[in-house]
Symmetry: C2
Subunit: 226 residues, 2 copies
Amino acid sequence: METAFSPVHAPSIFHTPPAHVVERARRRKDEAFANEPRALEPGENLFAAGQPACGPYRLLEGLVMVFRALPGPRRQILDIAGPGRTVGFSAGGRHDCDAVAISPAILVPLGETGKDESAAMLAEIARLRDLATLLGRKTAIERLATFLLQMMGEDFETGRRLPMRVSRQEIADYLGLVIETVSRNFVALKNLGALRRIGREDVVILDIPMLRRIAEGSEWPGAVAN
Amino acid sequence: METAFSPVHAPSIFHTPPAHVVERARRRKDEAFANEPRALEPGENLFAAGQPACGPYRLLEGLVMVFRALPGPRRQILDIAGPGRTVGFSAGGRHDCDAVAISPAILVPLGETGKDESAAMLAEIARLRDLATLLGRKTAIERLATFLLQMMGEDFETGRRLPMRVSRQEIADYLGLVIETVSRNFVALKNLGALRRIGREDVVILDIPMLRRIAEGSEWPGAVAN
DNA sequence: CGGTACTTTGACCAAATTCAATCACTGTGG
DNA sequence: CCACAGTGATTGAATTTGGTCAAAGTACCG
């Protein structure tokens, strides 16, 4: 997603939301008022394809994935959203994909029309263009490098310990790969010196410029030599 | 793009725009006023990645493709838009992709904020979700079947003669494939009896339900038997 | 006609998937 | 505290899909 002119800089999925808002959201979990914060347990659905659309939500805490299911076991994860991100845009009054919490999540419904809803939609369009480009034209290692940079959010810091809070299956379904390919390319990036692994959960990014070059496809055979 | 809950039904790229608007647009081609219709010759740029964003355009006539370029010869076409479609959404004040006319095109800039600009953005989001799903999870023949259904627009009519107004290269770059794979899968669909070819330009769709089943991935090994 | 550009076809190749173990972490119970 | 399932991740081998390279074929346009 880090093409030269990609203007979208989503906040890292690892920042902390205001504590009082979270607390209020937790207390009101069961009161299902519109415009009231909503809390989800891991695995719980925010909405499902085919349901009448509820307006977009702003995510305050946790991780939510949005995906399209195809016949068979195939699915494409279209978004892995963290705090600050907006999910749930839908046209035509019905949801066209599923949204499920990956970790405990707090969300607030957004008002119908607003200046920042418009901005969020434009950001969503840009993000999906990034994703389509990744899925259509990038190699497996380029996809994984792109994903890792995306997981770092805005603060690119060498040696940063990066907790992987999504399973291999989720990474694979987001990147249009299978889990084995994701595994092999983690190893490939390690062997290139771009990262180090701690346990199975965490990753330390060692060479951000390299990761960027790989993500952008500059290392591609036909690309300019460097 | 024809998943069960896809609510987006773009007009066919083959419908005719109001004649008087087109005529007015043609006359004013060289007067580069904002909010005035703009005419493009095939190959001419509407905008390019990195340029300051101009607001979205509504396409009145012709075909415009929107794409992202990657290092090397790789590019991902993100949209092949026909009359009635809106192109040129951009976040952050700069374009993040290129837009080029495929055939002579007439466009009118849209006003800043409007109810139908909002609807167009939602439709664009849904369309890009379709595309990402196609690129991430569909096989070559599924992609081509999806593309053909999309080219038919709203009126699905058996035996309809469908002019292919885009090159194999453009189809390939839109579907995340190479031209040879597109060719081979045209043959595959012909052999399945889904279509017939006339010359190299036109295609006659013979079995729309089959095309739909293929496009949706119902024929996939792991899918429900049928 | 002849040249050019685009498409198709064929043979081969490579990246990614599939299938099948194996490994490593986690949590549980002895 | 350690053995041991159980789950998810990794590794390896074989396979497959789609890509690459090269050679026709075919329409189009002068």
